[in-house]
Amino acid sequence: MSTMMKYEQKALKVVGTRPLRPDGVDKVTGRARYAADYNLPGQLIGKVLRSPHAHARIKSIDTSAAEALPGVKAVVTREDFPDLPVEYAASGELTINFHDVTRNMMAREKVFYDGHPVAAVAAISGSIASKALKLIKVDYEVLPHVIDVVEAMRPDAPLLHEEQYTEGVTPKPDRPSNVAKRMVFARGDLEAGFKQADLIVEREFNTKPVHQGYIEPQACLASYTEDGQAELWTATQGHFVFRAQCAKVLQMDVSKIRVTPTEIGGGFGGKNNIYNEPLAIALSRKSHRPVKMVMTREEVFRATGPTSGANVKVKMGCTRDGRITAADAELNFQAGAFPGSSVAMASMCTFTRYDLANVRVVGNDVTVNRPKVAAYRAPGAPIAVFGVESVIDEMAKRLGIDPIEFRLKNAAREGTRTYYGPTLGTIGYVETLERAKAHPNYSAPLGPNQGRGVATGFWFNIGNETSAALNVNEDGTVTLVLGTVDVAGGSRASMAMMVAEELGIDVDKVRPIIGDTSSLGFNFITAGSRGTFASGMASVLTARQAIEKLRQRVARIREVPVDDVVWKDGWARPADGCVKPFAPMSLAEIAKVAGKTGGTIAGHAEINAQGAGPGFGTHIVDVEVDRLTGLIKIVRYTVVQDVGKAIHPAYVEGQLQGGTVQGIGWALNEEYVYGADGVLQNPGFLDYRVPVASDMPFIDTVIVEVPNPNHPYGVRGCGEVPIISPMAAIANAVESAIGIRLCEQPMSPPRVLEAIEADKARSGARA
């Protein structure tokens, strides 16, 4: 059944405080166990042979020499995995198709990108496994490839999937295309809207694929035993989803796979999908030994999901006084080797911050010879928002209207109808704009070559399937077992805090752990900012169920009607005006006698959480531009975001700061660089430039709390929104600084300097 809960305003003792995270000490002492830290007796090391080509047909694979190498215990290729029909399932980023999943984890007919797995080896040592990879002979028929999304959309472009006809266009096209799917979200009369406009701005934008850049490479350890059972320890954002996918691609019973989520070294959407896991299980099955597989950083960049690069066209019109009359956008997203980019979600995030009568968003999902994209924090939204917030900034500046004022004039509010259907409920967008406007950052003086930019963001946030269990231990302490992986944000702490609040006990009496797939019912991945919202609801329900049992138990022990027993501050107390007053019992006292009065007290919840509250944010950034080198320096940054309720404010600040800096990296220097041969040229942290400490200023945060009416503590979720606005905010700030509108990301020095020179040439020509 689907579960929705109501917000209850009440005095809080624990929620809103800043206790230390339960996983903290292990992490500062080196004791925390990540996937690569697990080992089993007799374990082998597995390694993957990857395609050196961007696009090629596999004519043959000869593994005999590798198999003959002493120390090699198993080799697997496409032959070791069943082909799967088209079948969809929910994953991190909307739906996945098992026909494609099985081909992405191990190439079948063709390799579709540089780094595509073609074989895997398990050997007694890493060096022997590496040697064995060199002995595998793959005969390729190299095919023409296409990397760029606009080129891939051309009818004459090299075709990845001969059987792929563009979905969503009628009538069905008569020839296959790299455009896997086309979608249109429209509302009102666009033409009429543009007619009403006094000012129309139209621009085209391009962004590059960027990687989630988690510091821990994918790693897993699999042990398949002869009774057909498999155990898997892996770094995952969703062990239940990994179990389901492994079961499917290996044709195993779900019950025969037990997945333990290890401590995870960052995910950001990149660890929603299986890569080596099924290979490790297959190698273990074939070698009769446990198999450990750890990706190199190069493999992470070449073969695990970046987010889409994209081409975006935006056209908007508004009246003289700054009222938007029409908004039109086209989003062309790279899906990578297989369909399924985040373009649908991006399409729905494109204009949702505004109350618009006439809107159209066209989204195209385009396959190209790059690794299949994966989710990355607010998948797709930053790309669409970069275009729209840039155009809005230009409209405001051309009309001489303050950019925040302009947004306030058009801001979505409670009751605003979105162009994809539903009406927005209670939201805090206007509040974030007003708090930003009032922030000292917005009025601080700027130095030479400095400029200030503003941009906003929206994310739906989600709920989904969630399981949790709570056990009251014999000493009155509580163990909370969660199915939602704590990918880093500190959700374990937040869950324990909500449970402590409900039970009326100290938070350090509640020990939260993440249960493996055999300890709880199905639980969706940690994605879409659902953790604190959905897992929080489940945790609260387990506590409330336990409280019910505690009241009943005390009623029987004290021989009073259960209605006469109320739960308050960790004690079962007589209700006001109850017939027969009785001595209150603390949780510890009840726990002590629980065994002798009917058994231990526990609570559990298996829900499909509904009622997620949308999140909105407003960013202010000051930049300084070196006109002679094109270098952009982030001078000051302020993030204002409505999170509903900050259960643990320090961890909310951490999400806002971390997400924002990822967005800054996207804006400034991060990008995949491919050669003409379709081979990735920068698969490492030296040339894939994520921000370093000395690149960043402090990131000021302003937490706005407009409670989500559908959560007992008003939680909305906060992880996705912060990455959405930096690209646009920085581009807008650069425009303020040097009067040049940058429409290409990243805004790396060569691109900025080129734009400055082009501008000089233009103004020179004008003069």
Binding site: Y88, S91, G92, E93, L94, G168, F185, G270, P379
Partner: protein
């Protein structure tokens, strides 16, 4: 009868229909009726469609009640990173 509206990205699968009125008690009945009327919509109903009932969004909630005066929107499911 409940008022049913489809987000425009679904129109290719409904022969151009954008909305209609329907007597259904819950989402499961709604999806069944739609699947019957628009076979092309079935995969999407099975996998990637969310509903908004009187302003509240539901994903994977087949048993969610729909009232006779409910306003219902169908649009793509969302997830995230």
């Amino acid at each position: 009868m409940a008022t049913i509206s489809l987000s425009s990205n679904l129109i290719p699968y409904t022969c151009g229909d954008t909305g209609f009125e329907l007597e259904v008690a819950n989402v499961r009945q709604l999806f069944a009726a739609l699947g019957e009327r628009y076979p092309g919509l079935q995969t999407h109903l099975d996998n990637d469609i969310a509903v908004a009932i009187d302003g509240e969004i539901y994903q994977d909630a087949l048993l969610q009640p729909i009232l006779s005066n409910s306003e219902v929107f169908l649009f793509p499911k969302v997830a995230g990173g």
